[in-house]
């Protein structure tokens, strides 16, 4: 008898463990069978001669004291139960739900655009521009953005490709694509870390929250109660900055743990790293769609800031009025004769 879920092709060790499981099932551990397969099978009252052995091996209840001549972290562990839990989480939670998050956000944004359309600059463009981002700011932003998109695409392929891409390209081609994506994903991780660190250093001081941000949030950024005040960055942007920095760093750290298993981190760490990495990635990618939306089609004039570095003064006046006032004051201080 085979379990209802398809038998995954893992490495030799996992295959051996899976075979053991099948063996256990066929020896009549009926409750285990019911749990795994979700099928109700009437228990067969056949005593399992190896029950004690397997209980100990599974180390479900006892402290494990396995010995082995094989050197290495975790090599004295005969069978990892949490591995099954991890596999379960990955196959029944992460993989099935990730597409809902990702596609769901895209649908939400599409609906927003259909309903609200592009939010125009109040009073239209003035034609006068103010400098908002230096060259370095824009270089760092697009550096992180490009790497993020590359890592997201390769990462999603590694997570979902077996279900979404393999059926299209077939096994041979998919093997090649997956290998390429794995190498690409692994190599571009550290450069992404460099980008996140540079970006955090550059913008952290401008993203410290204050009372203006609280008021902005209470008005939901202008969804109700008229357009709230905002400084150089509004609360929404500050939240996004800290999400990117913290989750981004989390992705990098978990990624590094996974990239370099040469530091005796055991499978427990690697599994948790995978959980953090997977969940963090899905969350960040989902939210990034919102960021990309607002920064391009969602709001008129916002893309200018990151592409040219300059923004229309009416855009600044309506969305970042406190910053706009500061800039105007500084300009009149520099040029007392001109207004």
């Amino acid at each position: 008898m085979h379990s209802q879920t398809s038998v995954q092709k893992f490495s030799l060790m996992h295959w051996w463990l899976s075979s053991l499981l099948v063996l256990m099932v066929t020896l009549g551990s009926s409750s285990v069978l019911a749990e795994q397969a979700g099928n109700k099978v009437s228990p067969i009252a056949v005593p399992n001669p190896g029950a004690d052995l397997w209980n100990e091996v599974r180390q479900r209840n006892a402290e494990s004291n396995g010995r082995t001549q094989i050197r290495g972290t975790d090599s004295a562990e005969f069978m990892r139960v949490s591995g099954e839990e991890f596999r379960d989480y990955r196959l029944s939670l992460l993989i099935p739900y990730a597409p809902y998050f990702l596609v769901g956000m895209l649908v939400l944004l599409a609906a927003t655009f259909i309903v609200k359309g592009r939010i125009k600059i109040p009073d239209g463009r003035s034609g006068q521009v103010i400098k908002r981002f230096e060259t370095f700011d824009r270089v760092v932003h697009w550096y992180v953005a490009i790497l993020f998109i590359f890592l997201a695409l390769t990462g999603l392929l590694l997570l979902l490709g077996r279900y979404a891409v393999l059926p299209v390209f077939g096994k041979e081609a998919f093997g090649l694509i997956a290998s390429a994506c794995k190498e690409g994903h692994n190599l571009f991780g550290p450069p992404f870390l460099v980008g996140i660190v540079l970006m955090a250093m550059r913008f952290a001081a401008k993203n410290i929250p204050n009372m203006v941000d609280v008021k902005w949030l209470l008005k939901a950024g202008g969804a109700f109660g008229g357009h709230p005040q905002a400084g150089y960055f509004n609360a929404g942007e500050k939240i996004w900055f800290w999400l990117v920095t913290i989750i981004g760093l989390g992705l990098c750290v978990s990624g590094l743990i996974l990239l370099f298993p040469n530091f005796e981190q055991g499978r427990e760490y690697l599994q948790w790293a995978l959980v953090a990495h997977g969940v963090g990635a899905v969350v960040l990618i989902t939210l990034s769609f919102g960021h990309m939306y607002v920064g391009s089609v969602g709001m008129e004039g916002s893309l200018d800031s990151m592409s040219t570095g300059y923004v229309d003064s009416n855009w600044a006046k309506s969305h970042h009025d406190l910053w706009y006032q500061e800039v105007m004051q500084r300009q009149s201080a520099d040029n007392p004769k001109s207004s």
Binding site: T135, F136, R138, V139, W142, Y143, I146, L147, G175, L176, S179, A180, C181, K182, E183, G184, L187, F188, P190, P191, V194, G309
Partner: protein
């Protein structure tokens, strides 16, 4: 003939030929325009200046650094990473040994290969982004500059994708992109690889002759 055989066979020989002949021809034409005779009394040695400037120009004067930091750091990350990769990465050394020079040399450990690859990617990406974001470079950049940057990036990317060395087609893709780069090389700004020593040299000679170390 399969795609693999074509890329490893006739296209490889063609691309090397275009590269070698193209580079030599372009250098020859450049160096054969003659010299305007200089009858003025030199103050110091022009040759010493030529050699000196070739070396000192590697380190920008600290007066300029605040304004040029990003380009200098990214530029060195890219170039140092690239040269380390090209010459001291195991797969490249094996390729050069088997197809070009016939002898071998010591290579980097794998982890250093990865680090130099990442350095090169970081440098190239930052340089290209700076090129399109900075008003000066945005104005003076030509399509050829973009083509050279993107082609170099593709060569590096295909190399990275084939890093596992498990799939022949990924390796062929990398080799193919290298061949495209070799063919484009003599017609592009990548010629600076060879012309830099001459341009620095003539600058150094011009000023060295006048007794100025620049």
């Amino acid at each position: 003939m399969s795609v693999s055989e074509f890329v490893e066979g006739p296209l490889w020989y063609f691309s090397v030929a275009v590269f070698v002949v193209g580079v030599l021809w372009r250098l020859l034409v450049m160096l054969s325009r003659g010299y305007q005779k200089n009858y003025s009394e030199p103050r110091a040695s022009a040759i010493a200046g030529a050699i000196g400037t070739n070396i000192t120009r590697f380190v920008p004067h600290k007066q300029f650094m605040p304004r040029i930091k990003l380009t200098v750091y990214a530029g060195y990350l890219f170039h140092v990473g690239l040269f380390a990769l090209l010459i001291f990465a195991a797969p490249h050394m094996e390729f050069l040994r088997d197809h070009v020079v016939g002898f071998e040399w010591v290579v980097m450990p794998h982890w250093l290969f990865l680090i130099t690859a990442e350095m090169a990617f970081i440098g190239l990406l930052i340089l290209w982004l700076h090129r399109i974001m900075h008003p000066v470079t945005r104005m003076i950049t030509t399509k050829g500059d973009h083509l050279a940057s993107i082609l170099t990036f593709i060569v590096m990317l295909t190399g990275c994708l084939a890093l596992a060395r498990s799939y022949e087609s990924l390796r062929i893709l990398h080799l193919f992109s290298c061949e495209l780069l070799l063919i484009y090389f003599p017609f592009s700004m990548l010629m600076h690889t060879f012309t830099v020593f001459f341009s620095r040299g003539y600058m150094g000679a011009h000023f060295g002759r006048r007794g100025v170390n620049i």
